[in-house]
Amino acid sequence: MTSVSPSAPVKRLAPALAEGIATCMRTDPRVVVWGEDVRIGVMGPTRGLVDEFGSERVLDCPISEAAFVGAAIGAAAGGLRPVVDIMFSSFAYVAFDQFANQAGRLRYMTGGQVAIPLVIIGSAGAAGANAAQHSEVPSALFLAAGGLRVVFPSTPHQAFWLTRAAIESDDPVIVLHHPALAATRGSLEAEPLSLGDAVVEPVGRDVSVLATGLMAHRARAVAKRLAGEGMFVEVVDVCTLNPMPWNAIIASVTKTGRAVVVDEGRLTCSVASELAAGIGERAHDALRAPVRRLAVPDVPIPFAPNLEAAVVPSEEAIAAMVCEVARA
């Protein structure tokens, strides 16, 4: 990651995301924002935008995800650059055809005649007893649906730059953000991030941990802790998932020979599975131990806080698996 410059503004993650949108809205009048209660900005990423850009460009929508995501597709095809806040990303399921069969297919099905410069923002992850329908990380579903770019920033810096990159992209991009990181502070450095980037920090030599969102945070905390014990973990924050930053991933794994993939999605057909499979194919000979996956087991997220904590990979679980792999 970029080095910290003393002059860089410090922001929290959700406001950094909002700032990323605002920056684009200032220079590009085609950028509009809609979704449920985006004026109040329930989820954070759109808070304050209506004050600067007015209600003509920041529109509150009815609870009609299929229609307002579909309308955003049409608006994108028609020359706007809509940014849609869908609140919890798992609400995408009620509009999933518009994601999978429409946004993700139309460019291809028309032989490239039409571009869909559309951004959809949604929270992803467990943030304390929101239960099964409001706590998921459905990144694997967006990746498997296909035709969608996906980013999942874990720091304000990432949030700012990846949101900008998403809005500037001519493709549909899903921007996930973790509700438990909304208030995380960090500085916005000048060096931009682009779709397809990964952030390697800290650099290490013993085990590579690949993670995203809250899991990347936890992985960095584990790395810090284990460094005190003489084990140097390299954390690859896979903050863009499509395009997948295979080069950075394989470079790290080739160096360390050991990899743990941590995922807040559920295990089966997860991003963790994709990473493990892809590493196996691309770096099998460099592996000194099997790639291990740590993900939510194949259960919905339970409500009770202690149960939620039991299924979401904790720092302890990450550390334990890292140590296991280091010894294997």
Binding site: I63, F303, A304, L307
Partner: protein
């Protein structure tokens, strides 16, 4: 009389949750139904054992009105082992299918079609049961409602569609996101009898619900009831932390006061009756809460259970 007691119980139950929330003793997002008691009680009092309801993120009043045990509700909302859903559902998902409360739902509109299916099953199995789907004005903009209306009309399913129009879709006034004059009018083109009612008048709600259940039980299919009511509190507890002021103060037509007045006018409620009820209910709920809070957390291995049969 039972109506008054149930409404009082709902009000107190919810107020206790508000207090718990404020005291930092609740987890997750909590949506309260204070002010909407008459709708739940008016409809549920027209249902029988063996009937089913589906509910919403804001569903405690439906559950209490359906006769659920406050202790097990508290336990669920607190994430304790003895909750209805073994601590895995929480505030938005309290349910007790065996007691005719198939489920609340965190997805707006998510349970409406379930009610159609429950009604179809009851009809096909000849159980004599019917079902009622509760949903908000916000859900009236979810496509699945219209699909469900069509299906219910085609199948002549014995189901009540109960829209609780409380004037807000989260933080937005209903009319800002809901085109047209009336939600009930959206059901009529499907050939479904559709009525609007003062949802704070439990007598009126019950009368219409009674007609609707009679229609359903006699094989004459679904009914749509739009209950106009008011949400006294915010969308969820704790919203002040980020939501700028956005609401008109609700018109103070307390549905409990109104019922009390009706009972009084009919000579059915003696002085002090309500106070006595409140005291009784408060004591009962306090005991229920204490018992729920004394319960342990669910054992961790439970997190891995109940996915598949």
């Amino acid at each position: 009389m039972q109506w008054l007691r149930t409404m009082v119980r709902i009000r107190l139950f919810e107020q206790m949750l508000a207090d718990l929330y404020k005291a930092g003793r609740l987890v997750g997002v909590v949506h309260l139904s204070i002010g909407q008691e008459a709708t739940a009680v008016g409809v549920c009092s027209a249902l029988k054992d063996g009937d089913q309801i589906t509910s919403t993120h804001r569903g405690h009043h439906h559950m209490v009105a359906r006769g659920l045990d406050p202790q097990k509700m508290f336990a669920e909302i607190l994430g304790r082992a003895g909750g209805y859903c073994r601590g895995k559902g929480g505030s938005m998902h309290v349910s007790a299918p065996a007691q005719g409360a198939m489920g609340a739902n965190g997805i707006v509109g998510g349970g409406i079609a379930h009610a159609v299916g429950l009604a179809f099953a009851a009809k096909r199995l000849g159980s004599g049961g019917i079902s009622a789907a509760f949903f908000g004005d916000g859900a009236a903009n979810q496509g699945v409602l219209f699909e469900s209306l069509n299906l219910a009309a085609l199948w002549q399913a014995p189901v009540l569609f109960v829209c609780e129009n409380n004037g807000y879709t989260e933080f937005t006034p209903t009319d800002a996101v809901t085109a047209g004059e009336s939600i009930a009018a959206r059901a009529a083109p499907f050939g479904i009898p559709a009525v609007e009612v003062d949802g704070d008048d439990v007598v009126a709600v019950n009368r219409l619900a009674g007609e609707a259940t009679a229609r359903a039980r006699s094989g004459r299919g679904p009914t749509f009831i739009e209950c106009r009511t008011a949400r006294w509190r915010g969308h969820h507890e704790g919203e002040e932390s980020y939501a700028k002021p956005y609401r008109e103060p609700p018109a103070a037509a307390d549905p409990i006061d109104r019922l009390e007045r009706v009972l009084r006018d009919a000579g059915l409620a003696a002085d002090g009756l309500r106070a006595a009820m409140e005291a009784e209910e408060e004591a009962g709920l306090a005991a229920a809460l204490a018992a729920a809070e004394a319960e342990p957390e669910p054992p961790p291995e439970r997190a891995l259970e109940d996915v598949f049969a």
